[in-house]
């Protein structure tokens, strides 16, 4: 309670102090007068010997206070007053920082959600993903591969490092019997999937061990979202039957809200592998997640997996030779897809903030120079250097905290847009938004930004010579060149940083342009695509399956406006199946050593739908049916690789996964970018015929039309439903939309980076304008003298422009050097050009130089209008 009493008794205390000092002086004066001085002289002498009364009082009071806190409050009050008095300065500064901080907040909220937040699972640090590492001979450059059932089972049974290991299969189920037929993302998982993650269903239970047995697996856990949309959140959902791919599943559990692991799962069913399926070793298709035992670290786990893999490779050399395993953290997987782009953006917004900071530092310095006299007076009255620095810093921190608040508002909108885009690329749902961490981050960078912005100006001010400042008028003369120099350094730095950002954006824009116009090997215009998936319950035999697809194709081909209609198992650009093949003329080797190529399943007419050129031989026709001898088309790169100097027509290729005899090559077609526009390496591929495939349950219908493809949607849907009313019509997309989707990430990166670079350019030009305008004011007298001596307006104009040009050029040179080092970091995001693409570097420099000159234009014009008479009278 001592401090409380003190707080209240302070006023009395200060009164006593003043009285005491007054008495002290009086006593001294009296003594001096008694010694023969005049009263006036005595008063002067007494004061001189006493020192500064104000300072003494202040120092004495300081003893009783928490000086730091109280000074700060005082500074804040003063700062608010100053800011209110110069609304234009405040508005510009606050807005500048709001943009800079807002951009950072938005990107940080994503980084935070993706990188920093622990996965919403039990002890997530111990959760691993175990991938196959495929033999490099067959899969050059591929470092991670999904796992085959038999290998997963051996891994699970033979390891001593994981508590649990679960396999996850991906797929889509046709959901029927609940209104419109639809296709839902389902995951087939081993029984311990939920317990491994430590996820407890909110209703019901996870899977039992016996449900993972063939014949017992007709149970499902549904996602919270699915529960809400399909059962209206009703609690008696347990025990209800749902029809997936025409099989009935009993709902046994509801997963917690937001749980959709992996990749937007809507429901989970047991793997329930048959003995036959369990024996599959060479066909890979499952993701394996595992939980480390408490005392085991990753290195130990890795070496154990190496041992097991080596053993399996020896034991089952036909399938497993060359196949290793790699143990990775689950949370690293989160980062993998969006990480590199995110870091580029994070760097970019950091630069934007740096520029914003510099601009505010500039503004503050300009304003502070105008206040030099006030500050000199404060110093003369005994303000310490710390107090002066505190004063300036308080002002800039106030600005940036207000800016930070505004930034949250701005960020809110940007975040929504980014979250919507980035969500599907992450293996689990993350909460991207303004949570406590983001708010803390924003507050922290706001304060930091304020400090950085204020540090330069305040250092400059306290360095200034007291006497000089007091002597000066109001800072209108050209005496202060050092302030100008500091500002010039700021501006050159701004130009440099903007250039780095602009070059980054320029590279992304060029990348997108090159991607969009890349020759993909097919023609995406006027093509509509629809996904058709059927269940092997309803369409049990291959005859029934092919009957369905052929029937649909017939119906669609009959529609008005349809030129050609066909089907393929995976559309170009979207990846798809890779399989080992045995090629005629190549040595006979076990499967593990066979070359892997892209394998697509097509119906007749596919080449014409996608306008894939036939280079040699013939296209497949309806005559190539189940009864005819099997035929196959190969791509040019395939033919080049295996039969470099021979005619490929008539050669044979055996798809190892398929039963029956080898297929005869009847045609050679152009290479298509099957794995995305940015994959320029030709994909060696083969096309085999749906009619000759032993089982087909999933195809993408592709329709070429003379009409705008979107006009066909309802007619195509009706045609499909005429064949099977329960068939869900999903993924209805034009082929151009498929192309756009495939580069969506590039586009988002480009848009964001360009926006940030544009912001940087704007801020930098404001900075240049500010410095030039200030310089013109400062050089008014000099210009006046020059004009009086006979300088022409053009000379004056040149003088000012030249100064601006010098700044801009310096900045550009530094910026170019920095870009050479930094753009390398975004090389993985680029396509078709080098990270130091000279055209981008030169083009962007010219743009920046032009903008810089434009920013100098107004101040330079103003300088030409300086009237020498007025200028020389200035003082």
């Amino acid at each position: 309670m001592m401090w409380l009493k003190r707080l209240f008794s302070r006023r009395r205390l200060y009164g006593e102090l003043s009285e005491e000092i007054r008495e002290h002086l009086e006593e001294k004066i009296e003594e001096l007068v008694a010694g023969g001085m005049s009263r006036e002289e005595a008063a002067y002498a007494a004061r001189r010997e006493f020192g500064s009364v104000t300072l003494t009082e202040e120092d004495s009071r300081t003893v009783w206070r928490w000086p730091r806190v109280e000074n700060m409050i005082e500074d804040v009050r003063y700062g608010l007053r100053v800011l209110r008095k110069s609304p234009a300065f405040t508005a510009v500064a606050v807005l500048t920082l709001a943009l800079g901080i807002g951009a950072n907040t938005a990107i940080f909220s994503v980084v935070n959600a993706v990188l920093f937040q622990p996965l919403p699972f039990r002890d997530p640090g111990r959760l691993m993903v175990v991938w196959h590492t495929p033999p490099q001979k067959s899969f050059p450059g591929v470092t991670k591969f999904v796992v085959s059932p038999a290998n997963y089972l051996d891994w699970r049974d033979q390891n001593h490092v994981f508590e649990q290991m679960s396999a996850v299969g991906f797929g889509k189920f046709n959901l029927t019997g609940m209104g419109q037929p639809e296709s839902v993302e389902g995951r087939a998982v081993s029984a311990d999937f939920f317990s491994l993650l430590g996820v407890q269903p909110v209703l019901g239970r996870g899977f039992l061990e016996e449900e993972d047995q063939p014949g017992h697996g007709n149970v499902a856990v549904i996602s919270h979202e699915f529960w809400q949309t399909h059962f209206a959140g009703s609690r008696d959902v347990l025990g209800k039957q749902i029809k997936l791919d025409d099989k009935s599943y009993e709902v046994v559990g509801v997963a917690p809200a937001k749980f959709d692991f992996p990749y937007q799962a809507k429901l989970w069913v047991p793997l329930a592998w048959t003995e036959k399926k369990k024996a599959v070793r060479g066909n890979h298709g499952y993701i394996v997640i595992a939980r480390l035992k408490p005392e085991i670290d990753m290195r130990k786990a890795q070496s154990e997996m190496d041992t097991i893999s080596a053993r399996l490779a020896q034991q089952y050399s036909a399938d497993d030779a060359g196949w290793g395993a790699v143990v990775l953290r689950l949370n690293q997987q989160m980062f993998q897809q969006v990480g590199p782009a995110l870091l580029v953006l994070f760097g970019a917004v950091g630069f934007v903030l740096l520029i914003a900071c510099t601009n505010v530092a500039n503004l503050t310095l300009a304003k502070a120079l105008g206040r030099r006299k006030e500050i000199a007076v404060r110093t003369a009255l005994g303000a310490s250097r710390g107090r002066i620095v505190g004063l300036v810093l308080t002002e800039t921190v106030l600005i940036s905290v207000v800016g930070g608040a505004l930034a949250l508002l701005l960020a809110h909108f940007v975040i929504e847009a980014i979250a919507e885009f980035i969500g599907p690329q992450l293996p689990i749902a993350v909460q991207i938004g303004l949570d406590g961490w983001v708010l803390g981050f924003t507050l922290a960078i706001s304060i930091l930004t304020g400090f950085i912005a204020g540090l330069g100006p305040s250092w400059h001010l306290t360095k200034a010579n007291l006497n000089e400042s007091l002597k000066q008028g109001l800072g209108k003369t050209d005496a202060d060149s050092s302030g100008g120099r500091a500002r010039s350094v700021f501006v050159a730095a701004e130009v440099a940083v903007s250039l780095v950002l602009l070059i980054g954006a320029g590279l992304m824009i060029r990348t997108l342009y090159l991607l969009r116009n890349a020759n993909s090997g097919m023609d995406a215009r006027n093509v509509l695509t629809v996904t058709l998936g059927i269940s092997s319950e309803k369409y049990a035999t291959v005859t029934q399956q092919n009957g369905f697809f052929n029937h649909v194709l017939e119906q669609v081909r009959a529609l008005p406006g349809v030129e050609v209609a066909s089907a393929v198992d995976s559309l170009p650009l979207q990846g798809g199946s890779t399989q080992p093949v045995a090629v005629e003329g190549q040595p006979v080797v076990p499967m593990a050593d066979q070359p892997e190529v892209a394998v697509r399943l097509i119906a007749p007419g596919y080449l014409r739908v996608m306008r894939i050129p036939l280079k040699q031989g013939r296209d497949i026709t309806e005559a190539d049916n189940a009864n005819a001898r099997p035929v196959i088309l190969v791509s040019e790169s395939f033919a080049r690789r295996f039969w470099p100097n021979e005619n490929p027509i008539g050669k044979h290729v055996k798809l190892t996964f398929l039963p029956g005899e080898a297929s005869e090559v009847v045609g050679v077609v152009g290479d298509v970018r099957l794995n995305g526009l940015s994959v320029t390496e030709p994909v060696q591929s083969v096309y085999h015929v749906m009619a000759q495939n032993p089982e087909t349950t999933f195809m993408r219908l592709a329709v070429r039309t003379g009409l705008p493809p979107a006009n066909l949607i309802s007619a195509v849907t009706e045609a499909i439903h005429r064949v099977d009313a329960d068939e869900p019509v999903v993924d209805v997309q034009t082929m151009e939309a498929v192309v756009d989707d495939s580069i969506a990430q590039n586009r988002l990166n480009m848009i964001l980076l360009s926006a940030f670079a544009g912001l940087a350019l704007l801020l930098a030009s404001i900075g240049i304008y500010g410095v030039q305008a200030y310089a013109v004011r400062q050089r008014t007298r000099e210009v006046g003298i020059r004009v009086a001596m006979g300088a022409q307006p053009a000379d004056v104009f040149r003088l000012i422009i030249a100064q601006g040009l010098r700044l801009a050029t310096t900045g550009i040179v530094i910026g170019l050097a920095a870009s050479f080092g930094l753009t390398r970091l975004m090389a993985s995001q680029l396509y078709g050009l080098s990270a130091t693409d000279p055209w981008t570097f030169i083009g962007v420099s010219i743009v920046l130089l032009t903008v810089a000159l434009a920013a100098c234009f107004i101040p330079a014009r103003r300088a030409t209008r300086i009237d020498p008479l007025v200028a020389l009278r200035y003082e």
Binding site: I21, E23, H24, E27, F50, G51, V53, T56, D59, S384
Partner: protein, 113 residues
Amino acid sequence: MKNREQRDLFPGALEMMILRTLKRQPLHGYALAQHIKRTSNDLLQIEEGSLYPALQRLLKEQLVKAEWGISSTNRRVRTYKLTAKGAKHLAHEVSRFEKMLDGITRVLAPGES
């Protein structure tokens, strides 16, 4: 201000001198200033004003206490008095200072190296 450090000789010196002076007799501010100046043969050019912050510090630490009264010259003055705690503090500081001085003297003594 800049030369404050020079005035203070070393941190705490002024406080020590005040305590030492008050140990002999209670005094008010002005008398205290005069006394210190006089006894130091005007060697210590302290600004009289700097006495007051020092006194406030000592008050806060309860090393001295103060009372308003009437001086011999019939003025309303505040007289400072050493407290028991102050006396103890002084003894401690003086012994510390003497040790330090002893050390310095040894180092500065000529011809012993």
